[in-house]
Amino acid sequence: MPRIVREAEIDWEGTTARGNGVVRALSSGSFELASTIASRVEIHQGKTSPEELLAAAHATCWVTSLGSELARLGIPPERMQVHCTVTMDEVEGAGHRIVASHIAARAALPDASAEALAEAAAAAEAGCPFSALIRASATVTYEATLEEGS
């Protein structure tokens, strides 16, 4: 099996409370983003945070799992939409912890039933590498619905 390596970096200046960071996608060069502690734990103010990057990672990982499970069932999707919400909370005695990730998926599947989608979604959740990792420490939930008109 090929090993796939992806790299990112952040430069941080000053303290957590008053400093700020710039996070860059080194492998692809596809983004360079500002982040601060205030944008992480309070209002985002247009800046990203580790949790938002994890939400993007989880949504992207999950959509590829769902697509391959649907193909396996012989119902290749026309279109899938996956929305992910990652929740960080203060846990007594442990400080800030990522406690939950919720996936909401919608799929346009010509001639397929809700049951088939439910079967594919269950397999996608079981097989998504990111879900498998964080299930050990956070609650992962998902819902999958057929897109209207499909």
Binding site: A8, E9, S28, L33, A56, A71, H83, M88
Partner: protein
């Protein structure tokens, strides 16, 4: 409590089709294209879940380390953190390597290494990803 959101739209099959991280809650980035080929082969200028995890972990670790250093009276001037995520299709994410290069006035090597190790153990992304088989850290002062 802080919720952070992202939305992805995908058209077509896994290998022939493609997706877009259309938007995130903060509006800080997107749209970003993703394909299976850019995830599993050459990135070709496109991001992937593993690159986003690398970015999340680098950002989380740097915040935790700067906080820890400030708490012990030696706030950092500058931290440069790299994260490298290794993904094996069919197996999952097998390894994350963190590397930090720091400018911290008035700190000795051992104290700095201990602070870096504590940040690696305790930052929220490290604890969320604690089931990754190997998370390594290289810490150096400049």
């Amino acid at each position: 409590m802080a919720d952070r959101t992202a939305h992805v739209s995908w058209s077509g099959s896994l290998t022939e089709g493609g997706g877009t991280i259309t938007s995130v809650g903060s509006g800080a980035f997107g749209p970003l294209d993703v394909t299976w080929a850019s995830r599993a082969e050459e990135s070709d200028g496109r991001t992937s879940p593993e690159e986003l995890i690398a970015a999340a972990h680098a950002a989380c670790f740097s915040m935790a380390l700067s906080h820890g250093l400030a708490q012990s009276g030696t706030p950092p001037e500058r931290l440069e953190v790299d994260a490298t995520v290794t993904f094996v299709p069919g197996t999952g994410i097998t390894k994350i390597q963190l590397a930090v290069d720091a400018t911290v006035p008035g700190i000795d090597e051992n104290t700095f290494r201990a602070a870096a190790e504590a940040a690696k153990e305790n930052c929220p992304v490290s604890t969320a990803l604690a089931s990754v088989p190997e998370i390594s850290l290289q810490a150096s002062l400049t």
